[in-house]
C-alpha cells in the first residue's frame, strides 16, 4: 500500500520551474530515495510535501487523504516528520530540549496546566522524557550528549540529533534531506544503519534525498530521479542505475563506464 502519493505537482518561482508535473508514490514500510543533480528540485519537492510551498498544481496524499490544502503543523501532526539539508536545530537549546520539541505533536499540555506544572502537565513531561531516553537516545547512541547545547556539537552529531528530533515525533513517513552529506565514511555507515533500523525496527517509511549513490544503492527499495524539475526515472535501484536518461542527466554526456562506477559504489562522492 502506498502511504504517500505525490500527484502531478508543479511548482514555479517566478520563471524558475522547480518542479514540473512530478508524481511519485512511496510504499509503506520502504525506503525510497529521490536523487538528481544539484538544483534538480529535490528539496523543493520535500517542501511541497511538508507544506512550506504551495504548488501551483498537483496534489499530495498521505494515507489516501488529500493534504494539499493543509498547513505544515497539521501535516506534522498527521505523521510527516522531516530533517533539513542544512540542519535546522535550535542552536541555543540542549539536545534534550531539541528532541523534546519533536514530541510536541504527541502532547497536549496547555499554558495554564504548564504554569502550575501539576498532574497532567507533569506526568506528560516525565513520560516523554523517559520515552525519549529509552527509545530515541539509546537507539541513536546519543545519551551522553543529552545536556550539551547543540551549537557545541560536531556536524555529524548534529545531523544525528536532528534525526532524533524527527523520530521523537513518531512519524509515519520520515523525510530526510541529505542525511549523510558532509559526513566522513564512518559517520555515513552509522547513519545508513540507523536509517535501515528505522525502517525495520520502528516500521517507519523513509523518503530521502541523497547524493551518495553508494548509500542509495545499498539501502533503498525504490529510487526516483529528478532532473530540471522533472521526474525522469523511477524504479528499483538496480534498474534505475542502468537507465540511460539517468546516466545522461548525471553526466550530461555519455561516458557510461565512469558513471556506472560512480552510481554503483563510490561512497565518497557527493
Amino acid at each position: 500500500m502506498n502511504i504517500l502519493n505525490v500527484d502531478g505537482v508543479s511548482l514555479a518561482f517566478g520563471g524558475v520551474h522547480a518542479l514540473r508535473d512530478v508524481s511519485l508514490s512511496v510504499a509503506e514500510g520502504t525506503i525510497t530515495a529521490v536523487i538528481g543533480p544539484n538544483g534538480a528540485g529535490k528539496t523543493s519537492l520535500f517542501n511541497a510535501i511538508s507544506g512550506f510551498y504551495r504548488p501551483q498544481a498537483g496534489r499530495v496524499y498521505l494515507e489516501g487523504s488529500d493534504i494539499s490544502r493543509t498547513g505544515p503543523p497539521r501535516r506534522a501532526a498527521l505523521g510527516l516528520g522531516r530533517t533539513f539539508q542544512n540542519i535546522a536545530l535550535f542552536r541555543g537549546m540542549t539536545v534534550m530540549d531539541n528532541v523534546k520539541l519533536g514530541a510536541h505533536v504527541r502532547t497536549r499540555t496547555g499554558p495554564l496546566a504548564a504554569m502550575f506544572y501539576l498532574g497532567r502537565a507533569r506526568r506528560e513531561e516525565v513520560r516523554i522524557r523517559s520515552e525519549i531516553e529509552r527509545e530515541v537516545f539509546d537507539f541513536l547512541e546519543i545519551d551522553h550528549i543529552r545536556r550539551s547545547p547543540v551549537a557545541a556539537l560536531p556536524y555529524g552529531l548534529q545531523k544525528r540529533v536532528e534525526l532524533a528530533r524527527a523520530l521523537a515525533m513518531r512519524p509515519k513517513v520520515l523525510m530526510l534531506d541529505e542525511p549523510v552529506a558532509g559526513m566522513n565514511r564512518e559517520e555515513k555507515e552509522d547513519m545508513a544503519r540507523f536509517i535501515l533500523d528505522v525502517k525495520e525496527q520502528w516500521g517507519v517509511t523513509v523518503l530521502m534525498v541523497e547524493h551518495d549513490m553508494g548509500m542509495v544503492m545499498d539501502i533503498c527499495d525504490q529510487v526516483y530521479v529528478l532532473n530540471f524539475g522533472q521526474r525522469i526515472a523511477g524504479g528499483p535501484p538496480a534498474e534505475v542505475q542502468q537507465n540511460p536518461d539517468v546516466i545522461e542527466a548525471y553526466l550530461g554526456a555519455d561516458d557510461m563506464t565512469t558513471l556506472r562506477e560512480r552510481l554503483r559504489g563510490d561512497r565518497g562522492a557527493a
Binding site: 505544515p72 522531516r82 496547555g110 499554558p111 504548564a114 504554569m115 502550575f116 516525565v126 522524557r129 523517559s130
Partner: protein, 347 residues
C-alpha cells in the same frame, strides 16, 4: 567545589530545582523576603513593592520578547488596562481585592490578544511599531473614555482590603505583592519546563522549522501575547492599588521602554534576567537621585538634570548591554557562580 549529582528518576531530573543546594538557596531567599520588612525602613519597603510590580511586568514581557521573540513596546499601556480595570471595579463595584486583580489580568489578556494580532503578519521592527500604535490607541482611550477613566483628571483607588485588614502602606502592601510576585515568577519558570515554553523558544529561533515540528505559529504567538498581557494586567492592578491614583500619564511609552531595557539589561529569555533587570532598573534612578542630592550644593539646578540624565542612562544601559553583555546580568551572575563552583581548583 561541587560535583555532579546523580538523579534517581526522570521526575527528579525534571524538577524546578535540581540540586539540594538550589532548594537551600530558594529557602534562604524566601526567608530573607520574610525578614526584610523587619529591618527595612519605609523608603526601602516602598522600593521593594515597586520592584515587585516591575518584576511581574518584566517577567511577562520577557516571556513575549525574550522567549518568544516578539518585540513589544506595549507593556506599559497594558499595565494601564489592568490599572484602569481595578480602578473602575473599585469605584463601581464591591468586589474583593483578589477578584479585582484577577479581573485586571483577564481584561488585559483580552486586550493583549487583540494587540497581538499584527504579530501574525509582521515581525521585528514592524511588530514593535504596531505595538507602539496599540499603546497610543490605549492612551487615547484612557484620556477620552471619561465615563470610565475620568480622563485627564485621573481616578482614585482605595487601598486593598483582605481579611478585614487594610493594606495602605508599603509595610503592609509588601505582604500582598511579594507572595504574588514569587508565585508569578514560579509560574513563568514552570512554563519553560514544558512543551508550551519550548514552543515559544522554537517560534523565536526558527519559526520555519517550528512549524514542521507541528507547532502552530499563530496560536503560540497569540498565547505569548496573552500571557505577557496577563502579567502586565496583574502588575498594573497592583500599581493602581499601590499608588492609590492613576491618570493617563501614569503609563507613558517611556515606561514600556523601561521594561524593554529591564529585560535586555537583565537577560533576554531568562527568568532570572527579568528579576535582576527589574531590580537594577528600579534602583538605578534612585541611585541617580542620590547622586543629585550629593551634587546639589555644588552644581546649580542639579535636580532639574535628573529627568534627562535618567533617560540618558537608560539609553546608555541598553546600548552598552546589547554591545558588551548581550546576555545581560543573568549571564554575569552565571559566570560568577561557575567561578565559585570550581573554586579553588580552577578559575
Amino acid at each position: 567545589m561541587r560535583i555532579g549529582s546523580p538523579k534517581e528518576t526522570y521526575a527528579a531530573d525534571e524538577s524546578l530545582f535540581r540540586t539540594r543546594t538550589q532548594w537551600v538557596w530558594f529557602g534562604i531567599l524566601l526567608l530573607s523576603l520574610a525578614l526584610y520588612p523587619f529591618v527595612a525602613n519605609l523608603y526601602w519597603l516602598f522600593l521593594a513593592c515597586l520592584i515587585c510590580i516591575n518584576i511581574i511586568s518584566a517577567t511577562g514581557l520577557n516571556i513575549l520578547t525574550g522567549y518568544t521573540g516578539q518585540v513589544s513596546l506595549g507593556q506599559a499601556a497594558f499595565m494601564g488596562v489592568g490599572a484602569y480595570t481595578v480602578a473602575w471595579l473599585d469605584n463601581n463595584a464591591t468586589t474583593p481585592f483578589i477578584l479585582n486583580l484577577l479581573a485586571a489580568g483577564v481584561m488585559t489578556t483580552l486586550v493583549g490578544l487583540v494587540a497581538g494580532l499584527p504579530s501574525l503578519r509582521v515581525k521585528g521592527l514592524y511588530l514593535a511599531i504596531a505595538t507602539i500604535a496599540a499603546s497610543f490607541i490605549l492612551q487615547f482611550v484612557f484620556i477620552n473614555w471619561e465615563s470610565v477613566t475620568r480622563g485627564t483628571r485621573g481616578i482614585n483607588i482605595q487601598p486593598p482590603q483582605l481579611f478585614g485588614m487594610e493594606f495602605d502602606n508599603p509595610d503592609t502592601f509588601y505582604w500582598l505583592v511579594v507572595p504574588v510576585t514569587v508565585l508569578m515568577v514560579i509560574l513563568a519558570a514552570n512554563l519553560f519546563r514544558t512543551r508550551v515554553g519550548r514552543a515559544f523558544i522554537a517560534v523565536r529561533d526558527r519559526d520555519i522549522s517550528a512549524s514542521v515540528l507541528g507547532i502552530n505559529l499563530p496560536l503560540y504567538k497569540l498565547m505569548s501575547f496573552a500571557i505577557a498581557s496577563f502579567y502586565a494586567g496583574i502588575a498594573g492592578g497592583f500599581y493602581a492599588y499601590f499608588f492609590g491614583s492613576i491618570n493617563p500619564e501614569s503609563f507613558p511609552l517611556l515606561m514600556s521602554i523601561f521594561f524593554l531595557a529591564a529585560i535586555i539589561v537583565g537577560g533576554l529569555g531568562t527568568i532570572l534576567g527579568s528579576i535582576l533587570g527589574a531590580v537594577f532598573m528600579t534602583l538605578t534612578p534612585e541611585l541617580l537621585r542620590y547622586g543629585v542630592d550629593v551634587l546639589e550644593p555644588f552644581v546649580q539646578d542639579a535636580s532639574a538634570l535628573l529627568s534627562p540624565v535618567r533617560t540618558l542612562v537608560f539609553g546608555l544601559l541598553i546600548v552598552g548591554f546589547l554591545l558588551f553583555e548581550p546576555h545581560g546580568l543573568a549571564e554575569i551572575w552565571r559566570r560568577v557562580r561557575r567561578f565559585f563552583h570550581l573554586w579553588p581548583f580552577r578559575n
